[in-house]
Subunit: 353 residues, 2 copies
DNA sequence: GCTGGCACTCGGCGGGGCTGAGTGCCAAGA
DNA sequence: TCTTGGCACTCAGCCCCGCCGAGTGCCAGC
């Protein structure tokens, strides 16, 4: 039971520190929380918590501050679910309703803004993975004698385009023929399967003795395969950088790392790595990385709260991608976690329609 | 000639202040610049410049700092063109070469990054205006009984897409017929003309007594008209927010406005207004707005250097859109101006191919 | 019109002293 | 064994002060 109280003290320290942004002392704790014991007792508990590495003092004779490890314990064992406020719930539902007729780009754009606004942090949404989706249609449009636009349309309504410069002229007749052949080969297949199936198309032309055309065809096929490949789906959208700056105003240590945080966000490669190397906690459906756990140089003062979205709630379809937020380690985890989870769920619903 | 020297003093003050970020005094000026007169003379000149509102003292007994008006005079009359370094020139040329086979999105993405890197500021690139371009092709792809994807392809290779939910079922035969009719109506026309020409399509169906189909057709036509309209071209891409944060580290006044700057950048509406209300100076081909001239609340500490791009160098084709940078008023204007101009020219070339 | 000289101003810096929040430890009580 | 009040101790933050020096404006002389 003494152990229970120690954890209650840790929870109180985290909550107060998040609220005030100042190291919290033993007296302030008993004043603000009905702990039922004296400051001296709290001090003993604090000493124990410090031994365990859960809290730390910035300097002698200052209050305590949670460490990354302290936040970890708080998140894993202490934070109850904070239900969303009616206003928040309404904002999310509005997204769901309004999005019915929007295209994917706009849905994601709105989602990321909503998440940034709810959490007052930087929000990121990864583009949905295309691996589950199928090819609906391929279109070739001549732009010039040796140039065509290749447009790939999937059954989720996503459109990919490539400008292709052929090595030789592409007569209208060949374009028309190739359009038919490509559609026959790939329509209805999953993207990865379609890419493989295309391998034979160019060789057909070689076999038919039309080696001149085969060269041009190879170029077009290669572009289509590239469009089918996973490269283009590796994108994230981001919103709420201004929230970061505002957080930095009240927190000089975080302000210093602001530049590095912005850099990481702008480097899509970095964000994608962070998003993909993470796995949701089965019970909460959310992943929380705290401080150094984020495993990126400039983000040691930063936590990453993310959740998978897409797929089906029943779990019989794999999720499509992840979304989440990035903010100072000192954040309101219960609120953030429920916001991220709620937005992920609603986005899943929206995409299922 | 005394007047000439006063301007030389202003130039020296601007240059030193930009370099050191500290108020510059009379002694420091004569040391660093071969002005050929004594500090006392400079002090008289400074007093005159201050009377004219071109420089100011943060407090008595500190050096002088240029005002917005001072920067204005510097930019208009004093700053020579600073040629790009060979390394910079090479970086820009590499963009030109590599971009040959990329699509528009990627070209702009690279351009904005390049500009951010060259200037060490936040770079913005507005998407090219579509008003000059023509419709190349319209494609309709059924997604479900009442849903189609509408894809619009222009002769610049730009692709716009819309998911359209019809009020009633859209049978395959109608989709095919409509595809042909739409293409017959709009292909080869300019976007704005095409939107007008579409007005008659729906009425054709009504006239033919097919009022059931007419309703569905109207929905599709409306979506296409919206895609043709100017709404979707109103986009900007942005890069280099981290540069801003870095600038803020050495400059507390600017750090305070950092949040507002990020907000303005994220609000595309704001950036678009700023970009469109600006006109290039005919002699330099660049527009420079300094501090309050930017005419936006959060950007009084910020300058905006932009240039039109696209069109033709000879001027016989109107430019397509603008690109530029946003940074603290205290920036290296000659360098920034030549970078912005150079990138705008190269992007024009790239898009002309 | 330029220059050297001179008195003046005032922000920034470093030192010293005080305050108060917060701690650790201890001995006594439940 | 745990809790509690008491007590001595530490130390960051703050204020005050005095000094320094950069920088100024003005003036008389060239």
């Amino acid at each position: 039971m003494a152990d229970d109280r120690r954890l209650a003290v840790l929870r109180a320290i985290v909550e107060d520190y998040v609220a005030t942004h100042e190291p919290v002392g033993s007296k302030a704790l008993v004043d603000r929380h009905a702990l039922g014991v004296s400051p001296a007792t709290i001090r003993n508990d604090m000493a124990a918590l410090e031994d365990e590495g859960l809290i730390a003092q910035p300097h002698t004779s200052a209050g305590r501050v949670p460490t990354d490890k302290g936040y970890r314990v708080f998140v894993d064992r202490l934070s109850g679910v904070k239900p969303l406020s009616p206003a928040e719930r309404r904002a999310i539902e509005r997204l769901l309703v309004d999005s019915a007729s929007l295209d994917l780009d706009e849905i994601l754009e709105r989602t990321v803004r909503l998440l940034a606004q709810l959490t007052q942090q930087v929000a990121v949404v990864q583009y949905p993975s295309l691996s589950q989706t199928q090819v609906r249609h391929v279109e070739l449009v001549p732009l010039g004698p040796r140039r065509v636009v290749l447009v790939l349309i999937t059954d989720t309504g996503r459109v990919e385009q490539r400008v292709v410069d052929g090595p030789v002229e592409l007569p209208e007749s060949l374009v028309t023929e190739l359009r038919g052949r490509l559609n026959a080969t790939v329509v209805g297949r999953r993207l990865a399967d379609a890419a493989l199936a295309l391998d034979v198309v160019a060789t057909t032309y070689t076999a038919a003795g039309r080696s001149g055309d085969a060269e041009a065809v190879r170029t077009v096929v290669a572009a289509l395969q590239q469009a089918l490949g996973p490269v283009r789906e590796q994108r994230v959208v981001m919103a709420g950088a201004a929230n970061l700056a505002r957080a930095g105003l009240h927190d000089t240590t975080f302000a210093a790392s602001l530049g590095q945080v912005l850099e990481a966000i702008e480097e899509q490669v970095v964000m994608l790595r962070l998003l993909t190397e993470v796995v949701d906690d089965p019970s909460s459906g959310v992943s929380v990385r705290i401080g150094r756990e984020v495993l990126h140089e400039g983000l040691t003062e930063t936590s990453l709260v993310t959740s998978a979205y897409g797929g089906s709630a029943a779990g019989d379809a794999a999720p499509l991608a992840r979304l989440g937020i990035l903010g100072p380690t000192r954040m309101d985890y219960p609120m953030t976690i429920s916001s991220v989870r709620a937005v992920a769920r609603y986005l899943t619903k929206v995409l299922a329609t």
